[in-house]
Amino acid sequence: MSVRVIAASSYLQPVRDGEALPSLDQALKDVSREHFRRVDRFIQLALIGSGRCVAGQALRPECGIYLGSGFGPIASNVATQQQMLRDHEIPKPYNFVNTLGVSAGFHVAKNLGMPGQNLFISRRGASLEAALATALTDLELGVLSQALVGVVEEVTLPLDEHRRRRDLPSDALVAEGSHWLLLERDAARGKSVSMKHFDDLGSLEEELNASSRENDRVHRPQAVDKRGRDGRAFHDNPDAAVAAEFAAAAMAGSLFLANGSPGRGYTLLHLGP
């Protein structure tokens, strides 16, 4: 049994000081079957990324959705807390419903016509790995033969609050994004994808030394969190940074991508021929 990435997309948009959040209207129109009312930016980002990923692809009826995020729909949570605690009002229903992680997956399913399994999964700093491990398990067991896996992270304004919330330096570059992979079991095209978990860095390095060849691109855990690598826009949390890296590689090359931390273990993702 093998699993291959048959399509991928990566929406990555820097947000700079003094600027408004970029409009998503046209990007949404390009991918949406209908106009979704009262959806927040997190949902919009999920719709854009997933829609771009599956454009032109034949989705199977049982295709599952595995949406990962480290922080989830922060803007709706902020709005809800301000309504309750600052303004002493009952939260507006659509704000409250949008705080639920499952809302984004629902709208992706509705937009793409996907009645299959629909999960929102988080693991701080490694949400792609958590979502991908779940999807790969289901594909391996034959629960389904296709899986749409994505990571979405949004930026909230004002940026100084966003940075404080994420414990970032006051000049940290930040970006919002939506990065998706369409996986298929035993596909005849696309790059193969696999992942392994290691309890410690030494075991991970042993595996990397054994598996990677001289010209392979290898990104080690300490590299994932370096801002501005390759001069590209940068995600301010590793959940999205790993997903951006992986989705980009799925479209343009092979990659060993390691992530993790002491005490929580390490994951090695591999995209190969």
């Binding site: 959705i65 480290g70 922080f71 989830g72 922060i74 949570n77 902020v78 809800t80 807390q81 301000q82 309750m84 605690l85 600052r86 002493h88 009002e89 009952i90 939260p91 507006k92 229903p93 409250f96 419903v97 705080t99 639920l100 992680g101 499952v102 809302s103 997956g105 629902f106 709208h107 399913a109 509705k110 016509g113 996907m114 009645p115 299959g116 399994q117 629909n118 999960l119 929102f120 999964i121 988080s122 693991r123 701080r124 958590a130 491990a133 779940t134 398990t137 289901d138 391996e140 067991l141 629960v143 609050e161 404080r164 919330r165 978990h197 309890d199 005490g263 929580r264 273990g265």
Partner: protein, 380 residues
């Protein structure tokens, strides 16, 4: 199929502070929601609520740290895992509150100091699993599932599937819901709260919320008399983000998928733990789906009259209650049900009855159209 057994359980909910007392209280028919009055809003807000009887202030941010460790420690202790097994134990956690209560208390405290306080100062989906890891000394991977009322049922299904791959022999599954203002006021704003939950009843008017922390150890190694999880299925109904399709089509689809995965025919199902929220369309959709699959619906228990709707935690919380009752040879009753509804083809059990060996289904349906059904087997 790799056999996966429920080897240890832990629970704190409105029925009691540990699984044993919760099950005894349930089988004795005790169900006691409290009246909660929330101040600080432009309109007074009073509601019924099933709270954990820990005696602490309801929104004390330290409750999580006090309540969660004993639950997971009890589950692991009952499972009899070795120190090495505990250290590598993966955690599958489902919740709908996560760290939101911490964020609320932090923001509220900061607002007292200055009006430009930082809202949502904490956002940590891993927080409950982190407490479990610390309490157990565990270093395994953790998954946080956030799929509304199906969250911990989905966590359990994913844990079961992970055990099927052979990569793990044991897994800790958690369901976590503690009182927080976002949930209480959010549901109040949706106008689906009522004073008394009446699942499948003609006079049902909505849900009563509750809190609870449940844990179970799922293991490929059998324990004495352990119940076996046989898998399940999950799907998404895109009818509405907050309302189930009353025709029951997607409920029927997930029931059929769960039965097919476990290689069971509908007539082999002994009984069902219903989701039974007590909402008009929710119960109607569940009943319609059951009727589509079973025709004549097997004996059904609806448990939310005992512990309230514990939202993302209800999958594990209600499984622990139901499984423990099965081990005692009993199917629980359904408090709140009195009068059948002519348009709802389900009449839940009104008194505990005998629970024979065989297969049981556990239903979970949530916002976002998320539907999950689990299959449980009681050995002969």
């Amino acid at each position: 199929m790799v056999d996966a057994y429920i080897r240890g359980v832990g629970l704190s909910c409105a029925l009691g502070m540990d699984a044993g007392s919760c099950v005894s209280a349930m089988l004795a028919g005790r169900a006691t929601p409290q009246r909660l009055e929330l101040g600080g809003f432009s309109e007074p807000l009073a509601l019924s609520y099933y709270r954990i009887p820990d005696g602490a202030e309801l929104f004390d941010p330290r409750r999580f740290e006090r309540l969660l460790p004993p639950v997971v420690q009890a589950a692991v202790r009952h499972a009899g895992l070795s120190a090495d097994e505990i250290r590598g134990l993966p955690i599958f956690m489902g919740s709908s509150c996560f760290s939101v209560g911490l964020a609320e208390t932090g923001y509220a405290a900061a607002l007292k100091q200055r009006s430009a306080a930082l809202p949502m100062p904490v956002c940590d989906y891993d927080y409950p699993a982190g407490l479990a890891r610390a309490a157990l000394g565990c270093e395994g991977e953790a998954w946080a599932f956030n799929t509304a009322c199906t969250a911990s049922a989905n966590a359990l299904l994913s844990a079961w599937r992970m055990l099927q791959t052979g990569r793990h022999r044991h897994a800790l599954v958690l369901g976590v819901e503690l009182a927080n203002l976002t949930t209480l006021t959010g549901f109040a704003g949706l106008q689906i709260l009522t004073d008394r939950v009446r699942p499948f009843d003609a006079e049902r008017r909505g849900i009563v919320l509750g809190e609870g922390i449940g844990a179970l150890v799922l293991s490929t190694a059998p324990g004495p008399g352990a119940l076996r999880i046989r898998g399940g299925a999950s799907n998404c109904d895109t009818y509405s983000v907050t309302t189930a399709n009353p025709d029951g089509a997607s409920v029927a689809a997930v029931l059929r998928a769960a039965l097919a995965q476990a290689q069971l025919a509908p007539e082999t199902v002994q009984a069902i733990k219903g989701h039974g929220t007590g909402t008009g369309t929710g119960d109607q959709a569940e009943a319609a789906g059951l009727e589509r699959v079973f025709g004549r619906v097997p004996p059904l228990s609806a448990l939310k009259g005992y512990l309230g709707h514990t939202l993302g935690a209800c999958g594990v919380n209600e499984l622990v209650l139901y499984a423990c009752a099965l081990l005692q040879g009993r199917l629980p009753a359904s408090p709140g049900f009195e009068q059948p509804d002519p348009v709802v083809p389900v009449v839940p059990l009104s008194a505990p009855t005998a629970a024979p060996p065989g297969h049981y289904l556990l239903n979970h349906f949530g916002f976002g159209g998320n539907n999950t059904v689990l299959v449980l087997e009681k050995p002969a």
